[in-house]
């Protein structure tokens, strides 16, 4: 109650901070929604996992507070419900990706871009392999591996582009942050 009585001056920085904190999760979600729209591209189905992988890796590396496990779980669940795969699968894969990134972030965050890209190039195929294995297990079918390999390759290939954009956003978010 006492908080609500705080002056209007207090409200604006608070809204600002909230928007900054919510941006990574919101942008990741919006990206996933936009990539599901029919673009008329042949490899479109591989774009959405590539984006989710890159975004979860990037934010877990540079701004882990903005993408806590609960939010990653929610993002994964959304991706599962939106797509056609088993429900809970993307949640597991993204959680694992986020957890692995957090574990190594102390060493990795100070490294050059090339090294972080290399780390992503190792993590993304591992995540895809996990998702492939779990899908095959839960649908009891031997799935064609090409789409999974293509998605992993696309994620690695697109990461520099996405990182270029996300680094700008990240600096922007940090730049004007109050206190």
């Amino acid at each position: 109650m006492a908080r609500r009585a705080a002056s209007l001056h207090d409200l604006w920085p608070r809204l600002d901070a909230l928007a900054r904190a919510a941006f990574p999760a919101t942008a990741t979600l919006l990206g996933a929604i936009l990539l599901a729209l029919p673009q008329g591209l042949a490899g479109q189905s591989a774009l959405s996992p590539a984006w989710l992988f890159a975004a979860v890796f990037f934010w877990s590396l540079y701004r882990p507070a903005a993408l806590p496990p609960l939010v990653i779980f929610a993002l994964g669940l959304f991706a599962d419900l939106q797509g056609g795969g088993p429900i809970g699968l993307d949640a597991i894969v993204l959680l694992a990706l986020g957890a692995a990134t957090r574990r190594w972030r102390r060493g990795l965050a100070q490294q050059s871009f090339l090294l972080t890209w290399l780390a992503f190039a190792a993590l993304a195929p591992s995540g895809m392999a996990l998702s492939y294995a779990l899908t095959a297990l839960f649908t009891l079918t031997i799935l064609p591996p090409i789409p999974a390999v293509a998605a992993a390759a696309l994620a690695i290939g697109l990461y520099p582009l996405l990182a270029l954009f996300l680094i700008r956003v990240h600096r922007g978010l940090a730049h004007g942050a109050p206190g």
Binding site: G40, S45, F73, G83, G85, I87, A96
Partner: protein
């Protein structure tokens, strides 16, 4: 918000990740055990997002169309000449078709042919790709008072697209013929042999279980078969194309760039049960042109 001591909060934070992992695994198992629940959750999300998809996909489609139009401007003259030639060619075919239609009509009247009932259909816009890495499906936006039902068949202007697998209040999910779970009874047009068309998640589905004595020929048209009563017979699917030694089918429908699909209500076109045949065995009145697929 419950206030916790710092150690308690830290402990909770450490517990969150394993708990969420366990939760996700539980969801995986639950979705496998209770497919209906998973389907309902999926439909709810699709319904919630359908208006948003519709809102964004309209301008996007417009931009794509405009870009295509601009590309056309450069090849207008040559395209025009080619179209004129094709038009003249098609005129000849039109007269052939009209003659055949008249002949067909008289033959049908003579044979007391029972016409297939007209199939009702609704047209819907594809608003989202609902597949993913391991599935091939699309989401179509339908009005809130639609009559689309599970199991109905979707076609684009060229051929078979897939089957409706989930329906919500505002959206419907269509499993494409290329999905790995798709199995369709088909007829090879030249040999009239039956086969099964199985999706592979790739661009071309594979032909299975064709008779050994009549292997599918390269370029042979493939149409649906009425076996199992899931599809009306004769819907165009595509043409046979051999990849190595295995016969695949190149779909006639533009499955990677679906824009508008027609969803057919074919229930009325299904085979009547035996006890009802006595009532429908009367021939069609002459002059009624049966609907052609």
């Amino acid at each position: 918000m419950i206030r916790l001591s710092i150690p308690a909060r830290q402990a909770l934070g450490r517990l969150a990740l394993p708990l969420l992992f366990a939760g996700a695994f539980a969801l995986l198992l639950l979705g496998k055990a209770d497919a209906l629940l998973a389907e309902r959750a999926r439909v709810a999300i699709a319904d919630a997002l359908a208006p948003l998809y519709g809102l964004v996909s309209h301008p996007l489609a417009r931009v794509r169309a405009d870009l295509a139009e601009m590309a056309h401007l450069f090849s207008l003259a040559s395209e025009n000449a080619a179209l004129r030639e094709e038009n003249a060619h098609l005129r000849q075919w039109q007269s052939v078709a009209l003659a055949l239609e008249a002949e067909n009509k008289t033959l049908r009247a003579n044979l007391h042919w029972i016409p297939d009932p007209d199939a009702a259909y609704v047209t819907a816009r594809v608003v989202a790709d609902a597949g993913g890495v391991y599935a091939r499906a699309v989401l179509v936006a339908v009005g809130s008072h639609h009559a689309i039902e599970k199991g109905q068949i979707a076609l684009d202007d060229q051929g078979l697209v897939g089957r409706v697998t989930e329906i919500g209040a505002r959206s419907a999910r269509i499993l494409l013929i290329t999905d790995i779970n798709s199995r369709i009874p088909v007829t090879l047009e030249r040999s009239r042999a039956r086969a099964i068309l199985a999706g592979t998640n790739g661009e071309m589905p594979r032909l299975l279980f064709w008779p050994q004595e009549t292997p599918p020929e390269e370029g042979e048209p493939v149409v649906t078969s009425a076996e199992a009563n899931a599809f009306p017979a004769g819907l165009p699917i595509g043409t046979v194309h051999y990849v190595g030694a295995s016969p695949m089918v190149v779909p006639a429908a533009h499955l990677t760039r679906l824009d508008i699909v027609r969803v057919f209500d074919t229930k009325r076109a299904s085979v009547a049960p035996p006890e009802a045949t006595a009532r429908v065995s009367r021939p069609a009145p002459p002059g009624v042109v049966p609907h052609e697929w």
